[in-house]
Subunit: 200 residues, 2 copies
Amino acid sequence: MNSMEAPTTLTGRPLRADAQRNRDRIVGAARAVFAERGLDAQMEEIARRAEVGVGTLYRHFPTKEALMGELLADRWRTLSDQARESLAEESDPWEAFAGTLRRNAETMSADAAVRDTIMGSDSPAVWEHSEQARADLLEATAELIVRGQAAGVLREDLTVEDVPMMMCGVCATMGAGGPAPGRLDWRRHLELVLDGTRRR
Amino acid sequence: MNSMEAPTTLTGRPLRADAQRNRDRIVGAARAVFAERGLDAQMEEIARRAEVGVGTLYRHFPTKEALMGELLADRWRTLSDQARESLAEESDPWEAFAGTLRRNAETMSADAAVRDTIMGSDSPAVWEHSEQARADLLEATAELIVRGQAAGVLREDLTVEDVPMMMCGVCATMGAGGPAPGRLDWRRHLELVLDGTRRR
DNA sequence: AGCACACCGGAATGCCTGTTCCACTTACGC
DNA sequence: GCGTAAGTGGAACAGGCATTCCGGTGTGCT
C-alpha cells in the first residue's frame, strides 16, 4: 500500500538509474519541505534539500503544482488506509469513527501543505491528480458513518461531506503557532467537534 | 460606536480638506477590496478603486499591513458591538450565545480579509494595532459564556479561548467556492460546532 | 491675489519566486 | 572503449507586487 510512482519515461523506457535515484530524492525532499513550510515552500529549497539543481527538479515534475499533486494523492492514500484499518480492527463504532478522525488529524498536523490544500485557497491543478484517492477516502469515511449511525452513536443527519468540512476547520487551527493571540489547541477543537457529531 | 480615525497629521494640525476626503475614500476602497479578495488584495487595486494614486495611498498608510490593521480593529469593534447587543437584548442565554456566533459568522463570511487574518498564516504586524479591540470582543464573549453556563445550557468546561478557535474553524470553510470537491456549507458547520458546546 | 507648503499621481525600483534554457556530464547498449 | 541519447546544474529570465521618488498641483492663510 501507498507506493509512489510509475518509474517509466514518456517513451516507455524505464528511468535511467541515476534519474530514478534523483527522482526519489526529490520526492523525499519535497515531502519534508512542503510538510514544514506549507504550500508556499520554494522550489529552490526543495532542490537544495534534494541535492539537485532546479533544472533537474523540473525535468521530473512539470510544475510545482504537479509535484504537490503527487504528494497529495499519496497523503490521501495514507488517510484512507488509516480509516480502513479502524474499520477492520475496531469493533466499537464510536471509537472507530472518532479514532479515525483523531488519527487522521494527527497525520495532517504533521503536514502543513495538505492542510493548506484542504483549506484550499489555491488552484484546482493540485487537486486534479488525486480525485480517485480522495474518493477512496470518502468511501471509507462513509462506511464509518453508516456503522456509527446503525449503532445509534452518531447523529442521523451526519453526512460524508460533513467530515472533510470539519477536518478543514480543525486544520485551520493547526497553523504552527501563528500570530493569533492565545494558544489554539486543535486537539481540543477536534473533541468539541466530535461531540457535535454524537447522537444526542 | 465604530468610528475610524484620528484625523490629525503628525504635526498635530488637522488634515487638509482634500487629504481627509482621500483618506476616507481609501479606507472605503480598502474595506471593499480586502473583503472580496482577502489578505492578498493588491495595493494598486485599492488605489484604483479609491480613484487615487498609489503614492497617495502610501502617504496615508505606511504599509499594506498598517492599512489592514486599521480595518481589522474596526471589524473587531463590529463583532464585539454585536456581542454586546445580544447581551443586552436577548434574555435566553442559549440564544444570546448561539445568536452572537451566528451573527458574527455572518459578518465574517462577508469579509475575506478578516477570515484570512484570523486563520493567521501571516505577519503579526497586522494584529498589533488591534489588541485592545480584540480584548473587548473576548470580554463580551466571556460574559455570554458565563451566563450560558450559569443557566446550564453551555458545557461547564467551555473557555473564552474556545470561541475564537471554533470561529477560526468555521471561517476556514467559508473560502468562496474553493476548488475542494463537494460544496462546503459553513452554516451547517457552525451548527455542528454549536451543538458541541451545548450542555449534554 | 499670491506664496508656501501639504498633497498628489504614477512611473520606476527592487525583490521574490516559478520556470526556461543550454552547455556540459554520464549511464548504458554495442 | 565509444557513441549517443538521457540526464544534470544553475545562471538567466519573466511576471507579480509592495514600496519609493519626485516633479507637478491645489489648498489655506495672509
